[in-house]
Symmetry: C4
């Protein structure tokens, strides 16, 4: 992730670690993280001389931890595939089915991963001028879609929330992979929501 690439929040018990704003994340040091409770009480901040500021994603990260009890990590990314999917799907949802990578996505209501033949549904909320303006929309999407680990932000990117940081990293890759597959399917005139045809079965 580069300086413009988004933000990461990780939870360990009562402590939530959040990356600062606008840093080159590959050059970041542990002391650069902001640490707070879910109620917003600050536990630690970067040394003052570093002049680091809180990520504008902080309210959205906290929101995600509030809406998903037991979440261990939240990642916000500006991946081009999420932006393009939001443009190719002008409605309120992205849907895809019968893909192996669906099995890497966590279903928060079932408390386990989705299955190969499930139809994965990812809500899409409208982009907003400021990150902070997104907070109520992302919160509402997490409420309206209690299954989902991902919310797409139109013309902006996505939020992914998972039970551990390892699974969240894996889902980040998996959602991006599924968006890539869906984009290519559309390019070739195929429908990502269409299950395999009987005629093609062995």
């Amino acid at each position: 992730m580069t300086g413009s690439g988004g933000a990461i929040g990780v939870r360990r018990g009562e402590e939530i670690y959040i990356t600062p704003s606008g840093v080159q994340k590959e050059l970041m040091e542990p002391e650069d993280l902001f640490v707070q409770t879910i109620d917003g009480k600050s536990i630690a901040t970067p040394p003052a001389f570093k002049k680091l500021t809180q990520s504008s994603c902080t309210p959205l990260i906290i929101n995600s931890f509030l809406k998903r009890k037991g979440a261990g990590a939240v990642v916000h990314a500006h991946n081009p595939n999420a932006v393009l999917i939001s443009l190719l799907y002008p409605g309120k949802e992205f849907r895809i089915t019968h893909q192996q990578m669906i099995k890497c996505t966590y279903n928060w209501q079932l408390g386990k991963n989705n299955k190969y033949f499930d139809e994965l549904v990812v809500p899409i909320v409208e982009g907003q001028p400021e990150e902070i303006d997104l907070a109520p929309y992302v919160a509402k999407a997490l409420e309206d879609y209690p299954d989902t680990s991902c919310v797409i932000i139109r013309r902006h990117g996505m939020y992914v929330v998972g039970p551990t940081w390892e699974k969240t990293k894996l889902m980040l890759e998996s959602f991006d992979y599924l968006f890539h597959i869906a984009m290519q399917m559309k390019l070739y005139g195929l429908d990502p929501t269409q299950p395999p045809q009987e005629s093609s079965k062995s």
Copy 2:
């Protein structure tokens, strides 16, 4: 290969080494491997405190070693190009001819690599809800296509089996390359099974 990226099995004499389930393979240590015989007798397992579990690909990897005597390695990958090829070819086979990279693919019946002007045929089996459900289909494909080093799993990925790990790695890259070429050919309205026209020959 990331945590969701598949599995690798390598054979040295009677010992078969198989990567564990769901680990970040770039962070894996030698002791994390499961070691067993082809008959399923366990030789070594990762230390218990690591809480690693056997890959769900294990039966398919063992199957591949059974169906391809002399095989040194089996790799299972979730490469997007294999998934997309399986969507662009709704039938039971992928075919391509007159490509240099065909020469990097091993023909198990001939005991040597395929040739430039051969038509490479790769069987495609249907994706299944669970990895274990794939085992009979992959085994049957390896029987029905005794030449092939590769089986494509629709909407899922591919299995590649080769005589040594070096050649298997090379084939992994070569099949992915050929899938990429075929996808691009289709995008431009070209047919990957069509040999070069006489008129274009020098």
Copy 3:
């Protein structure tokens, strides 16, 4: 950046550091930089035995520092996306709106970054046989578009100028990202200058 990948100029007070011509930039050492004032007075040159020559971009880099008071860095890149955008937009401007990455681009007239719902306008100047021939066109574009941090050179690449090297690096990535999004939008028949439709709003 490879040897053909462009040039970088960084300003610290009166000193302007410029990469030499045609070197493999990943192998470059600090002493390989040319250092001069904005008036063209040489402060330091690479050791003679290295036989390095000044970048043909030097006048364009100096020009950019002259036209953008307070600029800390100028980067010239031959990124394929800039070339392709210049071919897809045969007129004198590239335009895109309602994209998160627009917020990473600096508006020199406002002295702050552009906003999500702004229409970003990037001038395009014609490619010329020699880098030096471009200088007056790039200078004029920076005058005619006092907002812009980027000038696209048709069939050639782009210049990006920012207040600090960190922000310039970020903009380099952001403009390339926006060009990628616009190219993909065009491929799918979407118009990058079209704001989101009311009907798709939540």
Copy 4:
């Protein structure tokens, strides 16, 4: 370059260094190189215990040094863009004009690089079953096109020959870049041989 990725020959005075067959080039050691004169006299070979064999490209590399007096390096690559260009251009030539990267390609007849507004012409020869069968065709193309630093092999890859290894590496990247641009232009219905329209000039 991976094990299937091609071959490299570098000339220093009378000595020509050629990479061995089928090795993972990123793991190669200096002693793995075959060294010979242009007349085919062996100067050094890898240690016997390594069981390395001469590259099947050796005659083509030597040929290139014979046809291009003063050449310092020859590279053979299986880059997908060269293969795809050979499929999109079924005739005997690839042509492109008015591109900055043309300036990175060396014109052997002029003894200097091509210019921005030149029409770059790269000959395409038919793929052959064996590398050795290509030798006369590549030699003839280098004769028939005395300017060219590149020969495309249909459905196979390309040979690039340059005055030094640094310039050859740069050309390898530049030809691949130009092929990428041309492929994209074709995808969007643009003609790579068409100079910029007057109407679009500033």
